[in-house]
Symmetry: D2
Subunit: 438 residues, 4 copies
């Protein structure tokens, strides 16, 4: 019996010179970079939803993809067929991880209980596939945004009944994640925000969300789950405003509800740019605040104001992002997830491979560039020399809180000399990066 | 001797029907609204810098304003002439407050000491003018962004010498503020951010900024200053990224450095929109987080990506902002500052009056609209009814932390019923607002 | 038998003071404004698609509206039921016009012929409803963007077969429009643009689009259709780039293909702001270029980068737009269409009324403001006085081409005097607008 | 006597492996690429204004650069010193061209005549420098935006006297350009637009601008100037709206005033992105419309909403831009101008070299990538195959206007078959680009 991908051979590393489109040119999983293999650094994950659930629909048009598992059977049969095909794809691609929402893998049932049971059954199917293939689960999550019942939020819903239904889904999705050996658990609050302040009590909603997240963390500890709980920031879309706007906002939220040591962020490149930041800004911010967890590698389009979730394709840009991740000590239990979809016009089976191969190769190439930046050492040295004045005893005294504003002001007044500024050397540093990335 | 504004008579309230352009049509300072006079609600302040220091320069062109105090004397003489003219304007306009940066009122000297002394001398001049006119100081601040020495930051500068020079300026500006009876002290970090991550250590810079702000708060308490310390968020410009991006970001920063009870925000409408939020979003967020302090009423242009600092001119928009301020209990020691400049082509003395009169009238009119929204009560009632479910004992139990995720999930599973969503009624609510604002 | 809207009484004008939400407060259709009734000025149209076809779906969630005509019958039966309900809504609302796409009113068939025949049959149904109710058709159009076959464009498709299928749909939609007495015919090219330049030949695609539009114009003339052919500009979405980016771009396209006297633009407020312009900019531009045709009154959200298609709700903003329309002599055969959808959470039948009532009232109120601006006359007088110098013979000589660059330069050099600039008076003019709008 | 750049040796090509920062790694001017040398392809120009006139000022701070020619002499002496230093820089850098505004090279005088004479004198100085060094002038232009007299426009000013003063400046700048062998003449209309529609008559202003440009073209022909007249599009800044918004808008303007065969565009990367387009979009659009003239290679910052004029630093992005230029047959008399400024903190003499070296190297590297894309040929072949259907006789018949809408519709109806869409292969094509650029 032919499968959806039977005409495509497993993807292999063939080196930069290969003329084969369905091969890796840079991602050589066992190649050692700064003491770890590429596979260990990058921990690539394929997402279930964009590649196996989305049908190509956009706000102005219907589906364009005609996958065999979209129709022709009962929902549960189609879910099994989808799982079979997804794992065929995972295996052929050679990314070690995948990610899913509960509703991606198992259909919504007619009642909460039926949904609950559908998930249990599909988790068995996924578990068998993992067993058979060696695929691992980077993280699981619950879809609390697609069903109409969540149109006004899940944890932040004005109706506590919805909070309850969300709690059920999250508990079940955490259980599923644990059963499948998931290494993290993610929450993305697509509807946790508002459409209009006219019907919204922001203070109440933040408190609801803070309580919900604390319940999640308590459950994690009670069950002995060792993975990381991750929030995925996004400024807006589908909501007009989402409470998890960006990493700095999430940090403030976590401190407000006592969770800054418990929860980290899953940073998506596309969400970073939608929030008015660069991807590397979000990474560097999360690292500085101690909440860098994992990343979604999909980019946006600089001319479009919505989430296009495209595969990354610009090596110099990614090299900076990966450089900051490496400088922060890596992602720990996190990984590089492709929360990316092929374009609506990329309707063929092979297009799913082109998207992922390109994305993985770009990351691998960017990792090699970042390696060179680190081995070279000039960038990091430039930064530490720039701040060297702060390492003197007089400066440490200030930072340590042993000098008052008044004392410092009086000292400066007594000395009575101005300070000549030094060049920021931005162009030199950009050229230095291009020495490796250009 | 004729002064710059001698051809303009004091501005009076003449009511909506007046045909006089140089009169208030809505701002009737003693009119009582919800138990306080308009003047008490709005506490209008004129800013010194845009109206009396800026010469009309933009990045592509030189000055267009030819004010008499821009040339023809020594810097100190011109500063005195500027102060005389500014107070003539304040008096004629009839706004009760003004605001200044140290360098607006007194010229930079050749040495730190000379700058320090220049300021002391001009503070005497300002004090005399306040005495004479009854004008009050809403807040003072230090300009730590215009001089080239601060090009790489003040508190966040890689060089601790700059931190010291900033400390001197801030101490002196706080002293000046206190001497002049200022009701708040503001810090805006135009250069507290970065141009490129390539030369930046964000963690160090945040710690420096946290220490600096703690020194300010300690000094305030030591001196017994009763005013509020305010940070003014702005996402970018002049820096590529500013650490005080928006209210939620500032909240996280304050909690990180133990200052969330000590410091509030001064929210500027133009900065709100540059950060991807509405003005009322920033107000509602700061209110929900307990850090709403004061506001800068100047708007941006929806088509322009930079800080245009224009006088407000849209009543329905402002009515929503003021509604949220009133719902939050008002601004306390804060006020409505016009951090606004007349357009570069508005080169005449009278244009300064048109700008401020229009801005004050729009705020007064918006206050009357907000009053109606509150007196009517339907908006607030709609919101509290929408969340009424959370006031039941069962829901309070959840919010109070007495139900675990697991318990709640099991309850929901046992009940096994779905929940029908209710209409968000956005269009109805917008129509309700327009009943008062339209 | 109860209908979807049977619980809602016809909407009547009840004046500003009414407490009834389901009534007009400003739209008094027979009220005379500047010599014409409100109904004649505004020529309101309801769009079929957003209110009767869209199910509340967004890119992150499924439908939220559960309309009776969405399921439970054959496609043709449901289409008839939809038409019955739509006309019930039109009648109760009291807007005189509606607009539709071919696929809104009649379902796509299994073959081109079946689609063609479905449309013919539904046009009969619509015709009967028009007869019965007096409703009129402002414009018809063809949906060349939702079906997957058009994913790479209709007229601009790389495959000429798609051009043919588009031609069939447009011919049929034009025929339908003519049969129903439509007063204009609109083309919106949601897929006439590109996703990536890598697979696009822009020169070819523009030529295809130019030819297609010429065929439409030729057909119009052959059939003796007296209505206006309208293009609706939009910068992007669903395409990454759409060729009809804005009014100025469309003007260039029309001149390139010899159509600037034949085709006008239908300007949507939301598309204007997405293209980086204000709504009134697009109106004033189209008026200056002689291609102002009709308008879609739906606004976007200033914080969102996509087409939210919301009902207008800001009177001062709309007053400026309507002022420019009136100054340009009105819209001729065009009208005010609401290409607007109620929010995804506004799931009740009555929400459709709230949206349209609010939109119509805001337009009516803005028309009254614009009337005052015109009657007052100061705004227009200010502008014509500002340019009065160009009405002198010396200036006319320049504009008429009777002075060369060299001659003019030599004259200026000989005179050798500089020119003092005059104030632009922007704040004064904004205050003058607020005299009527604030 | 030491000069400003005397400590810097001439910049040489040293190959990719060099460790020298002040050397080219990719720009090897005599290297042949697709039949022409790199120097012939790229025709690099340095701009006078950003590197030699700008003092580091931004809207929130004063100058940071302390160049010797900024003070200490009479304006004319300083202008000569500036010219000496600029040519020292040009020579050491090794870019073959430069560009200037009239006011960059010669100071504004007290009267029009004095300004005219100042320019004449400095043109002599520049001519001597060109003679001595072999430097060439890519284009000249007139600064009609910095002086306050032009605050409301030059050609579009409401006052015809300003039109006259602008004519004098442009005539003189054209004369200067011709005398110095300039290969093009550029007009950028920074103030040709509006701040508020309230005081603007757009129709009049467009006609004024059309007349002005026709006068320029007539003068060019009368003087026998063989260079190209270029408009530089920009959407906004300093004006709220500029009439030369983007290439498509300029095309419409040119056709309106009969100039589409006479005038081309100078496309700046930073202006492209500010107008909501990619740089390659603007290039491909201008090429498709037959008005591609020259380019300014400076980029913006994706997070900033204003013109940052930064040196390019992303090779894959530029490779696409250069690919489209090469596909369009190159730039003719145009070139690659760096309308770029080093960052405000890059205050040292050497920073000017880092900026330009980096920019030139990135362009050279991108040219090599584009060469590979062209030699490989798969990209172009993919595009032409995608449109191959349009080369059939049946399709040509349609394009040539020999088939009516009706005829085509009837044929399609008779055939009665649907068309299966084909994959757009975007990911495959992006991967193909990265084969060369990644
Ligand atoms: Co995303
Ligand atoms: Co994501
Ligand atoms: Co501002
Ligand atoms: Co401010
Ligand atoms: Co729209
Ligand atoms: Co529309
Ligand atoms: Co620029
Ligand atoms: Co330029």
């Amino acid at each position: 019996m032919t499968s959806y991908f039977s005409h495509i051979a497993p993807i292999r590393y063939q080196g930069p010179a290969t003329d084969e489109a369905l091969a890796f040119r840079h991602y050589d999983k066992d190649r050692v970079v700064l003491g770890k293999t590429m596979a260990e650094h990058l921990r690539f994950a394929v997402c279930y939803w964009h590649s196996f659930c989305w049908n190509g629909l956009d706000p102005f048009g219907g589906g364009t993809f005609e996958r065999p598992w979209f129709q022709g059977g009962s929902p549960m049969e189609l879910a099994r067929q989808k799982a079979d095909t997804a794992f065929e794809f995972f295996e052929k691609l050679g990314a070690p991880y995948y990610c899913f929402h509960d509703r991606d893998v198992a259909p919504e049932g007619a009642t909460p209980k039926e949904s609950h049971e559908n998930l249990l059954r599909l988790v068995d199917v996924l578990g068998e596939h993992q067993q058979r293939t060696g695929m691992k689960l980077l993280w699981g999550t619950a879809n609390l945004f697609s069903h109409r019942r969540f149109m006004a939020g899940a944890a932040t819903n004005p109706d506590p009944e919805l909070f309850g239904l969300a709690a059920l889904q999250v508990r079940d999705a955490m259980d599923a994640t644990m059963r499948l050996g998931g290494e993290n658990y993610v929450l993305w609050g697509g509807r946790e925000g508002y459409e209009t302040l006219l019907n919204t009590d922001m203070g109440r909603e933040l408190d609801q969300m803070g309580r919900f997240l604390n319940m999640v963390v308590e459950y994690k500890h009670r069950k002995g789950f060792k993975g990381t709980i991750l929030l995925e920031p996004k400024p807006r879309e589908p909501s007009k405003h989402q409470y998890d706007f960006d990493s700095a906002t999430v940090y403030g939220f976590l401190t407000r509800y006592g969770l800054e040591k418990e929860v980290k962020v899953n940073i998506e490149a596309n969400h970073a740019t939608l929030s008015g930041h660069s991807f590397e800004h979000e990474i560097a911010t999360a690292a500085a605040l101690g909440i860098l967890g994992s990343i979604d590698m999909n980019r946006g389009d600089p001319q479009l104001g919505w989430d296009t979730d495209q595969f990354p394709n610009n090596v110099p840009e990614l090299a900076l992002a990966i450089y900051h991740i490496l400088q922060a000590g890596g992602l720990g239990s996190g990984g590089f997830n492709f929360d990316a979809k092929v374009r609506r016009q990329s309707i063929d089976a092979e297009d799913l491979f082109h998207g992922h191969i390109g994305g993985m190769d770009v990351c691998a190439r960017a990792l090699l560039v970042a390696e060179q930046m680190i081995v070279d050492g000039r960038l990091a040295a430039h930064v530490s020399q720039r701040y060297a004045g702060w390492d003197t005893p007089a400066a440490r005294e200030i930072l340590d809180g042993r000098v008052s504003l008044d004392q410092l002001a009086d000292r400066v007044l007594a000395r009575n000399t101005d300070v000549a500024p030094r060049s920021g050397r931005q162009e030199y540093l950009e050229n230095l990066v291009n020495r490796f990335a250009g």
